[in-house]
């Protein structure tokens, strides 16, 4: 197989670095709730995203033509994939998930194996979806993250047995920041399609 080698290497390396950091530094990264939730988990997802990019860079010419009309695929417009990723995202905002990831090997396995797979599904789905669908799922994720962040900040009691109260507040602030940063970045990255859609 002939690959567009430089891109493959770059994305592959990115995936390995993300995975390496998330797994190699798991003790310090899970010591704080904020790092666990806002650094380690995103890194694992990012590893999947990069891996999908690398894989995609390997099959250069055939795909771009099929992109505008992905005739009846399993992942039509990426909706099933994005739905799955949204539900998984919701699951990792439940405080019990963070506690269980430290004590229950099944949840830990789901974290280290499932999240990269979710990242892969996310990238593959985003490729197939259009602006409206992306906006729907992104908006959905962001309000959820903001509300959960506010709940974390608002709680006078600890929600995670394994983490300190201060840290819970920082996670809450981080989630709210995420809810602002994510759509801002997306808007910057997709200014053109959004502009085109609005001026249709």
């Amino acid at each position: 197989m002939r690959c567009a080698s430089r891109a493959v290497w770059a994305w592959g390396l990115g995936a390995l670095v993300c995975l390496g950091f998330a797994v190699g530094l798991r003790a310090p990264l899970t010591a704080l709730m904020s790092l666990h939730m806002l650094v380690q988990i995103p890194l694992l997802v990012l590893a999947g995203v990069c891996a999908e990019q690398a894989w995609r860079a390997c099959r250069p010419e055939s795909e771009p033509d099929a992109r505008p009309r992905p005739a009846w695929s399993f992942n039509e417009y990426g909706v099933p994939g994005l739905l799955l990723v949204s539900l998984v995202g919701a699951g990792w905002m439940v405080p019990k998930a963070l506690d269980d990831a430290l004590t229950d090997w099944r949840v830990a396995a789901f974290k280290y194996l499932g999240l990269p797979v979710c990242g892969w599904v996310l990238r593959a789905s985003l490729r197939r979806s259009n602006v409206v669908i992306k906006l729907f799922f992104l908006g959905n994720f962001c309000w959820m993250s903001a509300i959960v962040g506010m709940i974390y900040l608002d709680q006078p009691i600890r929600l995670c047995n394994a983490y300190l109260q201060d840290d819970q507040d920082w996670s809450g602030r981080g989630l709210i920041a995420l809810a602002i940063a994510l759509p801002s970045c997306w808007l910057l990255a997709e200014l053109k399609p959004v502009w085109r859609f609005l001026n249709r």
Binding site: W72, E76, P80, L83, L87, P95, D99
Partner: protein
């Protein structure tokens, strides 16, 4: 219509994972899950040697069996400056309620320290500070680190070291029966409910595991008294 199938699979997988994580959409925190699990399946306490304020060391299970009273157990450490003090004053109120209702021959209080630095004198001094009546309220600590970890694990107490040499830990009232079972876990905010649950347990005597009704029925019971 393959994508509809895929959509259904994605929905089922996502909701299934959420269902499993939240014990069937009933709990959001590990603490709530612990309380629910104990209420459904009372847990036998492992063999553990405890240290008393007067310096003697004994098996906790033996103490429970010999004493014969239902114990309301909570966990603390004597150097604590925050949560344990609140817990301590709530427990003191509980002690007063036990004596007022004449329940001291059926129910008692035990506070167990998880701090390995604790000496017997720390415990006895703390007991004085808390106005504890030694006949109703005992202060213990774990004699052996390995047993301490096993016991905390069974009770579901997670101790996290915090700045300034403090610890943060989940606090609650634990109803423990004389035959050495952790039967219920009740919220710290409601000592009355803990007393009621202990009274229920005392009236029930030795019941087979699994026959303990769930939270809603107890809450209804609270209205009766």
């Amino acid at each position: 219509m393959r994508w509809i199938l895929a959509l259904a699979v994605a929905l089922a997988a996502g909701l299934g994972a959420l269902y499993g994580l939240t014990d069937g959409f009933t709990v959001l925190t590990a603490e709530a899950a612990r309380r629910q699990d104990v209420a459904r399946n009372p847990r036998p306490i492992p063999a553990v040697q405890v240290l008393y304020g007067d310096g003697r060391i004994q098996s906790l299970n033996q103490d429970l069996r010999r004493d014969g009273r239902i114990a309301i157990v909570n966990f603390f450490y004597t150097r604590c400056l925050s949560l344990c003090l609140v817990q301590g004053s709530l427990t003191e109120r509980l002690q007063r309620a036990i004596v007022e209702h004449g329940l001291q021959d059926r129910i008692r209080l035990i506070s167990i320290s998880f701090d390995p630095r604790e000496r017997p004198s720390d415990l006895s001094r703390y007991a004085v500070r808390m106005n504890a009546d030694p006949a109703v309220w005992q202060f213990l600590s774990f004699a052996q680190p390995a047993q301490r970890d096993a016991a905390l694990d069974l009770f579901g107490i997670t101790v996290v070291p915090a700045p300034l040499g403090e610890f943060e830990h989940n606090a609650a009232f634990h109803i423990v029966t004389p035959d050495g079972r952790l039967a219920r876990v009740l919220d710290l905010d409601d000592p009355g409910l803990a007393l009621l649950a202990a009274k229920d347990e005392a009236e029930r005597g030795l019941v087979p595991a699994g026959a303990v009704p769930g939270e809603p029925e107890r809450r209804a019971g609270e209205g009766r008294t």
